[in-house]
């Protein structure tokens, strides 16, 4: 079950009613959420929820034991907790990939390793629950966060159905305090939650589904039959699809959290307006990138290890981890490597430019000019677009084959762009981004100032629109695969 599925339309009202009609006590509310998490997960696999519960309980227990200890024992407990968390992830997500790669490597040097391949069913949300747990244990270790006394609060914090499938990646410091106190239903939360959910659904179930179905999947599944233009359409379509899919799902998750009186972190801030890769990663999957930078990059580059001060190496390492986190395949490693390189290049460029500015203040002014911004935007977006190719490709070979056909292709098919739905999708995306530009800053406040009946009519029209145009069973979710 995903937040955009018809199953969720049955699930949400029931949980909502039990949650808010019961006692206004944190214990009751957290218990309801835990039960809801169990049911939500059981719609995928009840057995594997046991695994998630067991890992989460171990994480909680080790943090509790760690709380009163210092020195070696504390470090050993931290190592044990992280090893346990990472082991589960490695076994379920990476074992097949590692064995496959090992066999291939042995084959290259003429040896037949033939280690049997093991591909286990990937527990839903394992990548997310793992980094949430690791973040928590590191917070406790570094005394940024006291060990949570309540197993219930800790478990609900890790497994909340709103974010278990695809984030946002939550942190103990922000969430545990919310779970500790009773939540009260208030109109602002309900309104913001419903709004976020509806807008997220529009992006996820309409824009992403439509673009994916008509412009991305056909081209990627039989790209040799498509023309050069079609290859560009397919890739640009994928950029639109993955943004709408993931940003939409994140908005829905945040909206659901809000409806239950919980504030989840923001996850997307119109990344396609970014004018540099560093900025891009502050706008795309914000909660994950913030986690990677805070829990990996900062300790690695500012700690006592040999990596101290090696910013470039830190970028490379973080993005290789990010690539592997997204999927156990060499295509994701390539994607991470390319983005690591991009951040290194941008970092060097920034240092170089700073040098120019120190020598001549005119360079400061040049950086503020429109052409500089536009060039930065174009380079950033073009780079991100091209790196989506390995991200979407089933293999490295496919990546290069597709890339080649973006310039020379013998195929003749081209998807038809003259469609009403395509125009609607583009209009939604443009309006979405326009609202975050200074020129469109009036959009949201103007809508918010409109009389309530007018706003109601607008939402009603949107609901009708979705009822008419969202394909049946839409709302599949790409990022759930990661």
């Amino acid at each position: 079950m995903s937040l955009a599925s018809v199953g969720f339309a049955f699930f949400l009202p029931i949980v909502f009613a039990i949650y808010w009609l019961g006692p206004k006590r944190a214990g009751w509310q957290n218990s309801v959420l835990l039960l809801a998490n169990l049911v939500f997960y059981a719609t995928w696999s009840l057995e594997l929820f046991g695994l998630v519960l067991a890992s989460t309980t171990l994480n909680w227990a080790l943090a509790r034991v760690m709380d009163g200890r210092v020195g070696r024992a504390r470090r050993a407990l931290l190592a044990a907790a992280i090893t346990a968390d990472v082991s589960v992830l490695v076994v379920f997500k990476y074992l097949g990939f590692l064995v496959d790669s090992f066999n291939a490597m042995m084959g290259r040097v003429g040896l037949d390793a033939a280690v049997p391949l093991v591909y286990l069913i990937l527990p839903l949300g394992i990548s997310y629950t793992t980094i949430i747990r690791i973040g928590y244990i590191l917070d406790v270790y570094h005394e940024r966060q006291p060990a949570e006394a309540s197993w219930l609060r800790h478990t609900v914090f890790v497994t909340n159905f709103a974010h278990i499938m695809a984030g946002p990646v939550v942190r103990a410091g922000a969430m545990l305090t919310q779970y500790a106190s009773p939540r009260r239903l208030n109109p602002a939360d309900l309104s913001a939650g419903a709004t976020g959910f509806l807008l997220g659904y529009t992006l996820n179930a309409y824009v992403a589904s439509y673009i994916g179905t008509w412009y991305v999947d056909p081209v990627f599944s039989a790209h040799s039959e498509y023309s050069v233009v079609a290859h560009w359409i397919g890739l640009i379509g994928y950029a639109i699809q993955i943004f709408a899919d993931f940003a939409g799902y994140s908005l829905m998750a945040i909206g659901v959290g809000r409806v239950f009186g919980l504030a989840l972190p923001e996850n997307f801030r119109t990344p396609y307006l970014s004018t540099g890769m560093l900025e891009f990663w502050r706008r795309w999957h914000i909660s994950l990138n913030a986690w990677l930078f805070d829990y990996l990059f900062v300790p690695w580059t500012t700690g006592k290890s040999w990596m101290r001060g090696r910013i470039g190496l830190g970028f490379m390492a973080v993005f290789l981890v990010s690539g592997l986190w997204h999927g156990a395949a060499w295509t994701f490693v390539l994607w991470g490597f390319l983005h690591g390189v991009a951040l290194v290049v941008q970092h060097r460029w920034d240092l170089f430019y700073k040098g120019l500015c120190r020598k001549d203040r005119a360079w400061v002014q040049r950086r503020k000019r429109l052409w500089y911004t536009l060039a930065g935007w174009a380079i950033t977006q073009a780079f991100f677009l091209l790196t989506l190719l390995p991200f979407r490709s089933p293999s490295i070979g496919f990546t290069f084959d597709y890339l080649q056909r973006m310039f020379v292709a013998e195929g003749t098919l081209t998807p038809n762009l003259l469609s009403l739905n395509f125009a609607f999708c583009l209009a939604i995306l443009v309006a979405w981004h326009l609202a975050d530009l200074p020129q469109g800053a009036w959009l949201r406040p103007t809508f918010a100032r409109m009389p309530a009946p007018m706003r109601g009519i607008a939402w009603g029209v949107l609901v009708v629109f979705l009822g008419l145009f969202v394909p049946l069973g839409a709302g599949a979710f790409i990022y759930a695969n990661f």
Partner: protein
């Protein structure tokens, strides 16, 4: 360092709270009203029909204690009209309940019979007598298509949407999680929650927009549309012609055998009806291939269980004009004609079926 967390809580002022609730309620009510109004207007331009399904008819069976039970695919709905005519003619002595398993195959009918109908059929009072003792006749409405599954080993795909109850769904989810197969149950439940809504009923069919365009700007069929219609006719005809290659499904024939066994074991008189087909779709190839081959095989099962086989494929007063545009279902007028003609001829025995019913 990236600061991603945004845990600012919304302001909570008790004074503002009541005002805001009013505002939220106004927005929600206006949104609902907008949806309702547009939905109603769209319903005028693109009327929808809510068809009876297994659950509706099972509930009817529970209350009705029928004398005749009809099981089949969507075609079984024809017998709703038979019921009207039969009741009129027998002063409500004969009561026909039809159970239409939309998109059915023989294996779907068997599942529905075993899991939904038999519990009612065999339900007994405290003294051991049947709760519903009136059933005398069972009619299986079928055709060659029902013996051709899309793929061996695959569960009948229509069951979750058409025949399941919540308990079946939950048992399947506990076993397999939510799958594309059992999700159909939820989609159909959702649809049935909003039988009044044109938008919800149309979801996935896409009829509203063309209907609205046609209402606002009526145009005669274009050459392309006419060609498409001709293609569809030809396609249907070809499907029937080629059906002969796909009639050998052990699962479906076993299902037929089991259905006959279940009903005859209970002393119920069984009839198998081969449902009428659009006459002009039946080619000479079909008349010499698919149709007789299927009938001959079905006849063997009928003979074994002493079941009467009635073949109405092309031998009724029904003409092309009595079919809907889908080339498959008969119009209300056609069904009325068929019911009156049928009860005068081949199905006349149904009118006598309730003679010994108290």
């Amino acid at each position: 360092m990236i600061h991603a967390l945004n845990v600012d809580r919304p302001p909570r002022s008790e004074g503002r709270q009541s005002l805001r609730w009013l505002e939220v309620a106004t927005v929600a009510l206006c949104a609902l009203a907008t949806v309702a109004i547009i939905d109603h207007v769209l319903g005028i331009m693109s009327p929808h029909t809510v068809l009876t399904e297994v659950n509706d008819r099972i509930a009817h069976y529970r209350d009705e204690d029928p004398t005749v039970l009809v099981l089949g695919s969507s075609h079984a709905r024809t017998f709703a009209v038979f019921d009207d005519v039969a009741r009129r003619r027998t002063n409500n002595r004969v009561r026909i309940v039809e159970i239409p398993v939309e998109w059915g195959k023989l294996s779907s009918y068997l599942w529905t019979l075993e899991n939904r109908i038999l519990p009612l059929l065999d339900e007994r009072n405290g003294d051991g007598s049947l709760v519903r003792p009136s059933l005398r006749e069972f009619v299986l409405v079928t055709e060659w298509w029902d013996a051709t599954p899309p793929g061996e080993g695959y569960p009948p795909v229509n069951l979750p949407a058409r025949s399941w109850e919540w308990r079946h769904f939950l048992a399947d989810v506990l076993k397999h999680g939510i799958t594309p197969f059992n999700r159909n149950f939820l989609l159909e439940r959702w649809r049935r929650l909003f039988t009044f809504s044109t938008i919800v009923q149309d979801h996935g069919h896409g009829r509203i927009i063309p209907d609205v365009v046609e209402t606002l700007h009526p145009t005669p069929p274009t050459a392309a549309e006419l060609a498409d219609l001709a293609d569809r006719r030809e396609g249907w005809s070809r499907v029937i012609d080629e059906g002969i290659d796909n009639l050998d499904s052990p699962r479906e024939w076993e299902a037929l055998e089991r259905i006959f066994a279940i009903m005859t074991d209970r002393g119920i008189n069984v009839t198998m009806l081969l449902y009428p087909r659009l006459p002009s779709l039946i080619s000479q190839t079909a008349l010499e291939g698919t149709l007789p081959v299927f009938k001959e095989r079905a006849q063997r099962y009928c003979d074994r269980f002493d079941v009467q086989l009635i073949d109405w494929t092309i031998s009724t007063p029904i003409t092309d004009e009595h079919f809907h545009g889908d080339f498959d279902h008969i119009t209300f007028e056609g069904n009325s004609l068929l019911a009156n003609w049928g009860l005068d001829h081949d199905f006349g025995f149904l009118l006598d079926s309730a003679e010994d019913v108290e």
